[in-house]
Structure formats: C-alpha cells, structure tokens
Homo-oligomer: 138 residues x 3
C-alpha cells in the first residue's frame, strides 16, 4: 500500500511543521498522504490559523516562534503556509475533525475552506488508516 | 493483520481521549486494539485516575479541563470513563507498563484493576506491536 | 519487513527514554531500528545533550528530572546514556536531521559524533520509513 495517514493532534508550530514536512516528503516519493486534523491540530485549519501557531514550550534552544520563523527564512526553509500549499498541490488530502468542531462550538464558517478536502469524524480516519501502509500521530 | 497497538505515553485529558476515541473507532470497524499505558499515561489507570486527568497546556481555545468536559457533554461526546468502558466492552485490551510502576514506586494496589488486562514491560509491547498492522504513539 | 523507524521529535527526558526503551525492545527481538532525531529531539545528539534532558512538564507524580533519575537508579532502570550505548551496540541506526541543524544554526562540531550514524533530511527519513513495518512518532 502506498498511502500514509497522519493524525495531527497538536497545534504547536513545530508539530504542524513536522507533519507538513513529513507529509510532503512522502508525497514527493510518490505516496498518497492524508492529514487528519483533530483536537488542537484543528486550530491550523481555522481562518488565519497557520499565521498564529504558537511554538511548543520545548524551546530548548531558547527562542520564540518569531525567532524560529526568522531562522527558517535565513536557512531557506518554507513556512507552514507555503508547506501547506505544496502539500495540496502535490495531491495531499486534508480532513478536519467534526467532533472537535462540535465540542469546541466551531462552525464551518470559521474554517479556512481552501485548506480542507473533507469534514469527518473518527470513522473516516479509521477508513483512511486501514488503507494506509503507516499511520502516524504527531 | 487486523490488530492495532497504541502506546499511551501522555497523561493529558485530550491525549487519553484521543487514544480512546481512535481505539474505539478501530474496534467498531472490526480490528483488535491493544493500549499500552506507560510513563504519564499510566496515571489514567490508577485509582480515580480517569477522573483527574489534567488538560494539556495547549488549551489554544482558552479553556480548562472543566470547561472542555462541559462542552463535550453539550455536544453529546462521552467522557474518558464511558469511553474506557466502551473500549473494554468492545474487546479492547489494556496493558499497564510495569517498568513505569517500578520506577514510580506504584504498587498494584494503587491501580484500577477493572481497567487492566495485563501488567507487562517493553517485551510485551513489542510482541503486540509485531502482530499489529499499525503501531501508534499518542 | 523487520525494520522500525522512530521519529524523535521531542527532547524531553521521558520521551527520549521512551524512544530508546522501545527501540532497544525491538532490537532485542531481532528487528532493525532507525531513530530519526529532529526538532527538539536533536538536542539529545548534541555534545552533553543526553546529560541535560529536561523532564516533560507532565510530571504528574510531582517530581523533577533529578528525582526521576534517582528513582530509575533504585529500580535498576538504565539512564539515557546507557540505553543509547545499548541501542548502538545492538545495531540500531541514528540519523540527525540536517534541516533542524540548518535552521538552528548548529554545526557538526556541536554534535556528539559517537552517537550519530548519518546526517540527513526528510528524504532519508522517508526512505527508511518505506522499508519499515512500522513508523512511530515520539
């Protein structure tokens, strides 16, 4: 099987970056990739969500999200918005978790529609995962 | 293979919820599921552990565990105790990590026996994982 | 397939311990294991990195890294330095993420060469993962 499913549970800048870099890596090698955004990860799919991702507390190197973004720019590493655009252009699939939206009281009008292929709950995730060679939780 | 093994390393309310919702999702689709609770995740299996799970720091939507529980209730989403009950009734298997218990000095008398199928260490986890289609870390 | 690839994204003491214990568990059962250290996980591979790993905030049992190390010693559980030594002696493979090094401005001279088999980016990770029975994210 040539599909990978990634659960994006966390909403931190570095976790979203990791999910997108890994997702794009698999896509570039010819795999299909589905990202299932749930719990705090859903935040990335809300209007302007990608612009406001907080950095994980684990800033071991002593820097905030702002400094990390500047360092990424200098190192020629794309930010989350560009990585997301690449992900979708390479054919990656994005599912927004409906249960999280229900619990948090988030309506579809708050979501960045251009980023999302489908809205679904755990059943849709399990179907994706069952068709996948690997399922990762980030 | 139709088994899924999930390492539950974290003890936060949202991570335990995620593990149980995903676990129950696979069970409902006919897979076998083993949850291996280790490190902070073990907390969920201690007496009254499920009632006292702290919310992850990542409360991006600005709420505490208490508010999240209320929102879940309103949205008709079951809490961790009910999800755990469902997990076991659907045939899910629960392993408590003995190494964590040894390190933390937790005796079996502190554990909620009704939630646990077996006590085991990393060897038992690897055996479960080797029989599994997917192994997730939450 | 008998290979396991583990992404070590986090740099907390307990997450590094978990990755090494699980990795050594698979190695002991005859699997090949590759650890791909990225983002905060890379910290573990820097000079003296393993000696200075911070404990996750989730210290539910009310203890710091120091107290946990003492408890581990008493329970006869090896620390991260010994586990890492075992990992490599059992034939485990370690990749340091070059992109993280570029972003953080970390040169190879800051790294603990004795711990690292190869420096590589996401492409190398994907190749490892594609040859693996399971890919985990810790």
């Amino acid at each position: 099987m040539s599909k990978i499913t990634i659960v994006v549970h966390s909403g931190e800048f570095d976790k979203i970056m990791s999910a997108l870099i890994i997702g794009n890596g698999y896509l570039a090698m010819g795999d299909a990739v589905t990202l299932f955004f749930t719990f705090w990860g859903l935040r990335a799919l809300m209007k302007n969500g990608l612009k406001r991702l907080p950095l994980s507390r684990m800033n071991l190197f002593g820097m905030g999200a702002w400094m990390m973004k500047r360092k990424m720019k200098r190192a020629g590493v794309a930010g989350p918005q560009r990585l997301f655009k690449d992900f979708r252009e390479l054919g990656g699939r994005v599912i927004a978790c409906e249960m999280t939206m229900d619990v948090m009281g988030i309506s579809r009008s708050s979501m960045e529609h251009g980023l999302i292929d489908e809205y679904g709950a755990v059943g849709m995730f399990v179907l994706e995962s069952r068709e996948s060679r690997s399922t990762l939780c980030i």
